[in-house]
Symmetry: D2
């Protein structure tokens, strides 16, 4: 019985920045990852999104693309910790490394370096009709670049975008005090029928 | 293949206020609804949370407590629309109506009227050890009341609380413009071992 | 004794959208409008920002550029209501209409149509060293365009940018319930010494 | 020519937490501090709010109540740095220390320890009709307590409350990335005619 929503503390992390729990949950829900889904996770970092995707898709497969060796080691460590076997780490900087991956149902982009349009060009082809690309954008430029791409490819994709801000209440003596978490834009792109 | 995260427009709504998609997703993820879960949804409104819970728990059951007849009708209409049969609407104002419900795994409280502490007293008994109560609070007073209860019952419950604010980007000509959605506090309470 | 922070309801409004009080206060504070300041307000709308600027600069002058006749009429009505005489409405679509305006201390841009870079080119010349341009951006594209300009003109300007989100508590019976206001980005650009 | 809105970095700070610039600006604007105002700043911390209030009220006076010696030293250091002489630090834990202060126009409460209702009882008497109390609440309990007080004293006070959340964009290479600041509730209470 696999719940979506592993606690942040349960992942092995090191110093690699990690998507926070609430953003991870929303990203995976918006990606519509089914039990047989083939998922590509680009800029996989610690693998927290990949692990949750792999648990949602026990009869599918997750490809975790990550350019740093530290990230790849953490993905492997987390896969082992959570007993996830339907996950392949790919040590590469996207779009390199995407060549051999087959048709997929969902693409999650947590980090794109400066290659966002190139990555979108490649994954657009691999994504099945009705499949979804979900991007987490932490910078204005990445968000603007993603919106510009979707507006240029309106025949291929529809999109929706939300900004999500979470404040966590921390108990300090008799008080609950809000601690802000950096806000994130989540863009969900759906591939239209040809 | 049931995804968590039905679009808001897909529910039959009428004039009853409805929890927005992102809040629904986070609420259900934080409730850890498993495939065999027994779930109580208090203040069920349109039934949007109940429907998603019922889909996550195909071998479990959802009890939807709602005090308005309009709400009960919408819950039934939505259950029919989504083909959900493991759901029982209960036309009652909680805590009334909770008596016959058995031991449960999760309680979701979207609306509590002014009876929050009475409701928490009753569901605390029905909730299994390790089970979760998740509250959506839209007022400061309900949030403060919930936090006060959890602080008084620290031997029984641990809790975490977040405020979630979502801004939806709307396309207006060549622009994407943020439309704010009212923020919500989500309090997750976990029943400790006795 | 002129306070910064006129209540929204005190302005004559019609159907023209108006900057909300908190954003108006922050925009004017970040513009460093002194008592003798010459201020240009571009996309002045109802004139709410112009009126507050004129009150902060009793020995200065405010030029309110607005392309709609409805806006110009509201600016005049509000100037009359608040007894402001150091304000000149200019019925024009910027950058047109800026030609005759002299050297200025502050430029506030609430609406730029699609001419943002052209407007910035013109006002950059008029702005005194140390003077400030403050932009209110409600779309991602305007924000990205403003940031791109400032990054291209790093020899001329330093900038800081914040997103501000305000939720207003509304009393509903015994409860206070948050009503969200759409978030805004405020970009403050300071002209460097040549 | 005194602008409202000193930069955070310009204050001498030590380790004492400081209200952030945007919150300081809104707090002072909502307090309607005029040139002759008598202002009480309770829980003055570094004195950042007191200093800005003193500059807005050159013909008035500011009393800065602070319980820590470290805070009192910072208030004095900042008063000296900004050449502010119409400010009296009071080393005390409110409501103690308020006895000798005369009728006042505005009260700003940044920190109230656990004595909020006692403090409000005392300052309610000192505040002139039409005067304003502005509270910055960083905890849910302080906010709820303040709202409860105002609801019990509806014959004496009207109030409005907003939550303000600021995200600061930080330039990181070619990107602007949002860094969240903890949100704050600002409650503005206006003393009614008797």
């Amino acid at each position: 019985m696999n719940f979506l929503g592993i606690d942040d503390e349960d992942f092995i992390r090191g110093d690699v920045p990690m998507t926070k729990q609430e953003i991870r949950i929303l990203t995976l829900a918006k990606a519509h990852v089914g039990t047989e889904a083939v998922v590509i996770d680009i800029g996989a970092g610690t693998g927290s999104i990949s692990i949750e995707a792999a648990r949602l898709a026990p009869d599918g497969h997750v490809y975790s693309i990550e350019r740093t060796a530290a990230g790849i080691a953490l993905i492997q460590a987390n896969a082992e910790k959570f007993g996830v076997t339907n996950l392949t780490p790919v040590h590469s900087e996207a779009p390199a490394g995407l060549e051999q991956i087959p048709v997929c149902d969902a693409v999650i982009i947590g980090g794109s370096g400066r290659q966002l349009h190139e990555i979108l060009d490649v994954v657009s082809v691999k994504l099945r009709t009705g499949g979804r690309i979900v991007l987490n954008c932490i910078t204005i430029q990445t968000l603007a670049s993603c919106l510009a791409y979707m507006r240029q490819h309106v025949a291929q994709f529809s999109y929706e975008a939300v900004q999500v801000q979470v404040n966590r209440l921390e108990a300090v003596g008799p008080y609950d005090m809000a601690k802000a978490i950096n806000p994130i834009y989540i863009v969900t792109c759906i591939k239209k029928n040809a």
